[in-house]
Amino acid sequence: MNEIVLARIDDRLIHGQIVTSWCKTTNANQIVIVDDSVKKDQFTQRVLKAASPPGVKVEIYSLEEGVDSLMKEESETKRTILLTKTPEAMEFLIDHGLKLKRIVLGGMGAKAGRSQLNKNVSVSPEELDSLKRIMQKGIEIVFQLVPAENPVNIKRFIKGE
């Protein structure tokens, strides 16, 4: 059985909040990263794998591979943290049949073309559209940096919702 204990959009992927909090409270034994650019970048892949905490396996897939691997029936019990850098990647997985109830928005750093949505999250117009489409499918999207924080539904921050 492959249970997704956390689906998170976070452009730093594996970092302090993931390793010191989320891995512990979700009791995850696997981190799955779905991102085409990381899949092409051997250096970043090695760095991410090296950053995995003891007892947690890191798998890195392209979008297509991600669909196959996440939908596959597993014989052993896997508790998976699913990470993508962008809403679009998450949307792709959902459109290809991945069932999710809630997506946690972690950090998305400010850069050219993005405007600030809340303290830690900035989005481009395309990313915002993608988030809206995901919400229309009935999936809840919340801001939450660490488990100790209360999740806040992003509806509040999006105009016209």
Binding site: D11, R12, L13, I14, H15, G16, Q17, I18, V19, T20, S21, K24, T25, K40, D41, Q42, F43, T44, Q45, R46, V47, L48, K49, A50, A51, P53, P54, G107, G109, A110, K111, Q116, K119, N120, S122, L145, V146, P147, A148, E149
Partner: protein, 536 residues
């Protein structure tokens, strides 16, 4: 409290949140901690021994505390300063002071949010300096203005609270009388169980669980204090981890050339003192202008200024480009981030020498490394080294030993800066491949697992020293004789059994996903009900 003492306390609160005197994370690990603040507040208020004792007690509440990636659950420095001041100037008994300090810590977390919000303003200024290509001005955006603003929102409220609050709150609480004080004291005695429970969340797993109980038993039956207990278990842990891991082979899964790899540095444009100067700026001011928009972006740019000034002083166009690429979003752990400082300095040097490195190459190496390095760095420092070193000295401090916080501070500073400096040289001289090899070396994981075991043993020892819970239930046995559930049953069976059960109960709720503040509220409720019914 005199006005001078209150001013000093306000200043101390500012310093605890500033880069001075131990550097950004150095301060966070040293004078932000109630263990150290207790001593300093004690010196200001004329009772260092009492200060150290109270500081140690308050610190235990925050032992499992981690602030990662810009999240901050509570402000232990405010709890440490005002809690200690309440006990010394307000005359509150120690456990009662702890019960009042904890809510103050939650209030202090607002300062953090305020700071990360208004620091965003100074990012615009840093951007402007980059437009103008003026590295010599960056300190204004990174240090001068954000620190002035921080001073206003920290020193002044803390001064007011200390001057008008400490005595008044102390008198008010004392005036409420015996039962209130007694219950406040029961609360303060029970709360450290939640602090220990939070620490256990990080380390209580696998074989380490046995170490927790061994530590508890060693303290409960043999009366071992934390430092000897820690040293004995250090030996046991090293033996255990080495025996267990014998024969395990770790190999890299990748052997192809890597796309973002940077070769070892052969450049001679920079003197190592330029790189070192960049590093000191990084270690001290990386988070001086911490803000929600770019996090450590301005700090990173400021750190790179000695390198950029040397390389691009005659090339204003490239100076502007370089400043723009280093003021981008950046967020990592301070000491492990030293490797990136060294690496990026080397990359800039090679670029100047003609290597084909565009902006994207810099961005991809910085963004690729910052997250994973923070994952490793936060685990090592905030998850392992800081709590375990503090725990080792808490026991001594609680007995009123004023040297305990001082020794802790010296050891931590040496270890932290030594490690950072070593990584800086590795990144600068050997390039990204060397950093990767280090990260892939599972020795780090071995140290983390071993430290978790040691930590569990010492936390077990702390349960009997810091958590206070005794039942007052007695049964008349006819005539003069009374059977006391505490002294005739629990103490005879296992001394400290109730504190142990309370700690495990708190841990269990946290493990089930309860937020710490709810567990704290529950413990307070139990203490109040139990105190009123005379169960405790």
């Amino acid at each position: 409290m005199s006005i001078t003492q209150a001013i000093l306390l306000g200043l101390l609160y500012y310093l605890a949140n500033s880069p001075w005197p131990f550097g950004g994370l150095g301060n966070y690990a040293i004078i932000y901690r109630p263990l150290v603040l207790g001593l300093l507040v004690g010196i200001i208020l004329g009772n260092p021994v009492l200060g150290v004792t109270i500081g140690a007690t308050i610190n235990l509440m925050y032992i499992g505390f981690i602030s990662a990636g810009g999240s901050m659950p509570a402000d232990m420095s405010l709890a440490g300063i005002l809690g200690t001041a309440l006990a010394i100037s307000g005359g509150l008994e120690m456990n009662a002071a702890l019960a009042v300090a904890v809510p103050l810590g939650l209030l202090g977390a607002l300062v953090w949010v305020g700071r990360l919000t208004f620091d965003t303003v100074f990012v615009r200024l840093a951007d402007r300096y980059a437009d103008e290509g003026k590295p010599e001005k960056v300190w204004i955006a990174n240090i001068l203005l954000p620190q002035l603003a921080l001073f206003v929102i920290t020193a002044i409220p803390c001064f007011l609270a200390a001057y008008y609050g400490a005595g008044a709150i102390g008198n008010f609480i004392t005036s409420l009388g015996g039962d209130f004080l007694r219950i406040l004291s029961i609360i303060g005695g029970m709360l450290p169980a939640v602090g220990i429970g939070m620490m256990l969340m990080a380390i209580y797993k696998g074989e380490a669980r046995i170490f927790f109980f061994l530590g508890f038993l060693a303290a409960a039956f043999l009366g071992l204090k934390t430092l000897p207990l820690g040293l004995i278990f250090l030996g046991i842990t090293i033996l255990y981890v080495n025996l267990k891991d014998r024969g395990e082979v770790v190999s890299s899964q990748f052997d192809t050339a890597v796309s973002s790899e940077t070769p070892p540095n052969t450049g001679k444009l920079l003197a190592f003192k330029d790189v070192r100067s960049a590093w000191w700026k990084w270690m001290y001011y990386f988070q001086s202008c911490y803000n929600y928009e770019r996090m450590q972006g301005v700090g990173f740019l400021h750190a790179m200024t000695p390198v950029l000034s040397k390389l691009y002083k005659d090339d204003p166009e490239e100076m502007k480009n370089a400043m723009h690429r280093h003021v981008e979003f950046f967020n990592t752990e301070n000491a492990t981030g030293s490797a990136v400082i060294g690496l990026v300095a080397a990359m800039e040097e090679q670029k100047k020498l003609g290597a084909d490195l565009n902006d994207e190459a810099f961005t991809s190496i910085k963004t690729g490394l910052m997250g994973p390095l923070a994952g490793i760095g936060d685990t090592i420092w905030q998850g392992v080294v800081i709590p375990i070193m503090i725990v080792l000295f808490l026991g001594l401090a609680k007995e009123g030993n004023v040297a305990a916080p001082v020794i802790y501070a010296i050891l931590f500073y040496a270890l932290y800066y030594g490690f950072g400096y070593w990584l800086l040289k590795l990144g600068y001289n050997k390039g990204s491949e060397a950093i990767l090899n280090l990260m892939e070396n599972k020795a780090i994981n071995k140290v983390i697992v071993g430290a978790g075991m040691l930590g569990c043993a010492v936390m077990g020892g702390l349960v009997s020293q810091f958590v206070n819970l005794k039942t007052a239930i007695t049964f008349p046995m006819g005539g003069e004789k009374v059977f006391s559930l505490q002294s005739d049953f629990f103490d005879a069976l296992v001394p400290g059994l109730l504190p142990l059960l309370l700690t495990m109960g708190s841990y269990y709720l946290l493990r089930k996903g309860w937020k710490a503040q709810y567990v704290i509220l529950l413990v307070i409720a139990v203490a109040v009900v139990g105190g009123l019914l005379r169960i405790f």
